[in-house]
């Protein structure tokens, strides 16, 4: 379980517009270097905020990432 990796990635997506743009264009490439489990990586690549929340991503982050927020 790498809750830190999941949440630090979410935080970066929220606060770093350049990284967010890269993620929007090619999620798999943007998270390629992140220390994620296979299921975490799959959830990010699918931009599946519900799954990311299930895997330990903090609710307020998954609800507030510009352009990717779950409502």
């Amino acid at each position: 379980m790498s809750r830190y990796a999941v949440n630090s990635l979410l935080y970066r997506l929220k606060k770093d517009p350049e990284f967010r743009d890269r993620f929007s264009r090619d999620a798999a490439a943007a998270v390629a270097g992140a220390d994620l489990t296979e299921s975490e990586r799959a959830a990010f690549v699918a931009r599946d905020m519900r799954r990311i929340n299930e895997l330990g991503g903090y609710l307020h982050l998954v609800m507030s990432i510009p352009g990717h927020a779950a409502h």
Partner: protein, 280 residues
């Protein structure tokens, strides 16, 4: 000798557009109603001419991320900035049109911090942490176009387990009351957040609340029964979506044994909106 001249607590996403998107026309109508009560609370606060306003609230992983999550943090310094967020979504959007900088009451913040350390509260301090909607939405709703008194923002970690206990938050509030009593200032204090929403911080459960739990809290606050509130556990707060009640526990410690008057309580599918004021 200083005095706490006002004590209040309220929900902290005070944005009709947000609640209309989340809950339709009823959402807008309910938040407009709670905002009207909060504005009236602000008029009563201003009438007492406070030298400072302490705001006890939580961070939503904006000021503090994963470099450090303090259990309780006193924001010191001379000024505090509004959180910056490009293309803000959801609850962050409420900040968009608010002033970007606010004066702090440096001497009161330092007194709470320094005397707190001497009294055994291992408080964190920050000169740089910005404040998000949890602080600024209530403060701006209360004051409208009137001047905002110098603030003392106090952060409580409501969301990142393990959180401080309800009992410890209450004890910290009692400490604040002692500091104010020894000071020369008239001080207002508000706590923000809640009531019940986002149980277990689970996305599929957004839209659920625990009104039975909230009514129990309200009953104890109205009756001035603060002992059972100190028994609240982290597990209970997590399951009921009562995380932000920890902020209210600090306020309760500061005003105990005062009784509360509920100015507004409105149920929505997403959250129970509330505004409460204490008889001081």
């Amino acid at each position: 000798m200083g005095r706490i001249v006002f004590g209040g607590a309220m929900s902290h996403v005070l944005d009709p557009d947000y609640y209309e998107r989340a809950c339709g026309a009823l959402g807008r109508q309910t938040v407009v109603a709670v905002m009207a009560e909060i504005a009236r609370m602000g008029e009563r606060l201003s009438a007492r001419q406070p030298d400072a306003l302490i705001v006890v609230a939580d961070d939503h992983l904006n000021a503090f991320s994963f470099n450090c999550v303090p259990a309780m943090c006193v924001r010191i310094g001379r000024r505090v900035q509004r959180m910056a967020q490009d293309h803000a979504e959801a609850f962050d959007k409420v900040l968009d049109h608010m002033p970007t900088e606010y004066p702090l009451h440096e001497a009161l913040a330092n007194a709470i911090l320094e005397q707190g350390m001497e009294a055994g509260f291992d408080l964190a301090l920050s000169w740089e942490a910005p404040v998000d909607h949890a602080f600024l939405s209530p403060v701006n709703t209360m004051h409208g176009t009137r001047p905002i008194p110098p603030l003392v923002p106090i952060f409580v970690n409501a969301f990142v387990a393990p959180q401080p206990t309800a009992r410890r938050c209450f004890a910290f509030g009692q400490h604040i009351a002692r500091v104010v009593a020894k000071s020369p200032w008239n001080v207002g204090i508000i706590a923000t957040g809640g009531l019940s929403h986002f149980p277990e911080l689970s996305l599929p459960r957004v839209g659920e609340t625990d009104t039975v739990f909230d009514r129990k809290l309200i009953h104890w606050m109205e009756a001035g029964e603060h002992a059972p509130l100190q028994e609240l556990t982290a597990d209970e707060l997590h399951k009921t979506g009562g995380h932000e009640f920890l902020n209210w526990m600090v306020l309760l410690g500061a005003v105990t044994p005062a009784r509360a008057d509920v100015r507004y309580f409105g149920e929505l599918p997403r959250i129970n909106l509330a505004a409460v004021e204490w008889r001081l």
